[in-house]
Subunit: 223 residues, 4 copies
């Protein structure tokens, strides 16, 4: 499982993070993680997993898996395939790629069977609590209206983080909680930890930044 | 565009065609294609595109794209990403991964903009005709009830092929038609061509076969 | 089939058109249709079909059907059920309720088998043409970006209407075409007819209007 | 809220339970409920809610709602509309109509705001527990593989019921649990209660039965 506290970057399908661009970001994170000792991971498009996993030592993750076993499922994302490609974990139920309740359960079960680490995304306190019932490794709370925005959830709605942490721990105290949406700098990261989370999940704050090195360094300084 | 007549293999998410297994099949096809001069292509999981595209000279395809442009679409399959990974074409609307009508249109438009070859799958004569209205490179007719089965569509329902060819050509005579579902051997391939199609799209007939070399050689003998 | 030219009102799930509010609008249309001789129809929520069909003589339609036959499909909209409730037709593939391509085909086939009239919605010229391949009774062209807006498609993008009419008639000259999105008044209706369509499909222009009687009278004046 | 123990019949979209057929079944249940004092409810297709609610005194429910508020949502099932039509409750997330996790949350919240009773369906112990985190009125556990079958869940997999009851009560002791799938007779009902549930949710056992009166009487005898 990811060493916590942790900074997880989800590069989505941004042009700035497709192909060699994904690798470049992974290498910057790898360098800064090595240098600072801060735990980091990067989730990339399925097409870019091998390319990144071969070149960096930080954990490379998938952005999504489908609730399927090997078989005739043309074009869906097979958990075995992302593991085989070099991913050691995967996001599940990201707010841009939501799953049916029973499929969240199936995906968590499949990752456990395959020894894949996993972060299950929630949109509020009650879904965080519901997800905790499946005892995943991580829940990441991300209010959809703040994703990709300029204001960090730690400023806009700190209660959603602290209340999610409380709700999750009541159901299963071993489940770790990440804080997402609008995270941009070291101050946001520090605040996320203060609110009881085990780290952050972020995307545009790094991917769309011109000075990626300094942004990642700044994020790391928050831990 | 694919040279026709053509044999297109869709490896789906079979364990027998994940990771190095996909590469192995691609290499067998590559050898037999070189040797016989028969046009072949292979569509593989997104995770395996680069691995295959780097090692074989036959066209490597994706199994699916989503109707998206670069941006915040966590875990969906970006057309630019599969191109960047080395794919030169993609299946669209496979019967195991159907799209809403407007998204079929969008996916075809996106592949044309990116210069990606594409095969759009249909399930009967009327959807073949509807798809032809979008002027794609290829329509592949596959009655869902015959997919993965033991009887080739060319035997079970030859009219669906010949009538699809007619219906498609009425709408746009430049659209080529492939024949899918249950195709297993050279006789099926020969029959598909006789029925007016430009080749075959198949999956389990090769992927689940023990003797892949002889099966592919036999398929090639049908052309 | 609907007598053309026709004004079809889709009341959606607006509060102003739920329950007795739907009936009230249906009755206004019924009166004005009787009075003016203008052909009109109203599509209402499944819950309100019987209530309206029992009280008005204009055709009452459903807003949607699912591609199912009687059986175990909890909560989906059965074509037989809307017919049984009193609907004589249904919208299919509305831009707010899109269907996968094969299901558009199935829904059209089911309505034909049951003798239900039907309007299949498209979002642009190429999907209009594709839908025509299924030989439905009506195609309604509605650019999604104009739906619910203040500018009629007849002003904002008249070519999409005239080109859809042309594209549809090339594939099947018996398919009629309706014009949707932003239609608000008699001038828009007149323009829609001038562009070659057989009538209009509208929603908010009537449902959200304070003076529904005068708005509907004005729409009718365009024919 | 439904008086417990309760027998809830979901008529799905069976031909035997569409239109007047639904009303007939509702009336049989109404009579037997009056006669025996056993609490019963029936969930019917949206088109049939008013017809049934006007004629029977047992609670009439909807089979499904969509996670929407009044507005432009053509053809989706508005919670306000089913209430307006006479429903006093609704199934949510039936195994034949599953919802994404965040939408389960939204639907439960909407029913609470509107004062609608609700039963949220789960497929196993862990999803039962997850649903309990939303504090719904009822969870109904139904292993999908047993739905519509000949063997009652109380015989085939009694542990799934007793373990769901335990898991649900740990998260929220006020949530009641129903037992579904394969329930056919009074013995199954009695067993369901013995396993700790507050009643049963069933469908084909009644709807497909020739002798509906005797089947419902037998079910009632189990309480």
């Amino acid at each position: 499982m990811l060493k916590t506290p942790v900074i997880v970057l989800n590069v989505k399908t941004y042009a700035e993070a497709t192909g060699n661009n994904a690798l470049e970001i992974a290498q910057i994170m790898d360098n800064i993680s090595n240098e600072t000792g801060v735990s980091m991971a990067i989730s990339v498009q399925a097409t870019d997993i091998t390319k990144c996993a071969e070149k960096v030592s930080i954990p490379v993750w998938a952005e999504h898996i489908d609730p399927i076993k090997p078989g005739s499922h043309t074009g869906w994302t097979l958990p075995e395939a992302i593991k085989n490609a070099g991913a050691i974990g995967t996001l599940i139920n990201h707010s841009e790629h939501r799953l049916i309740l029973a499929d969240v359960d199936t995906c968590i079960t499949l990752t456990k069977e395959l020894g894949l680490d996993h972060i299950v995304c929630s949109n509020n306190v009650s879904t965080s609590k519901a997800i905790a019932a499946f005892s995943p490794n991580f829940v990441a709370v991300e209010p959809p209206e703040l994703i990709g925005g300029d204001i960090s959830v730690t400023t806009a709605d700190p209660d959603i983080i602290s209340n999610s942490v409380k709700a999750v721990k009541i159901v299963d105290k071993n489940v770790k909680v990440l804080c997402g949406a609008g995270v941009k700098n070291g101050k946001d990261v520090a605040m996320a930890i203060e609110l009881g989370s085990d780290g952050v999940l972020l995307a545009s704050g790094v991917v769309k930044a011109k000075e990626k090195v300094s942004v990642i360094r700044d994020l790391a300084s928050g831990l």
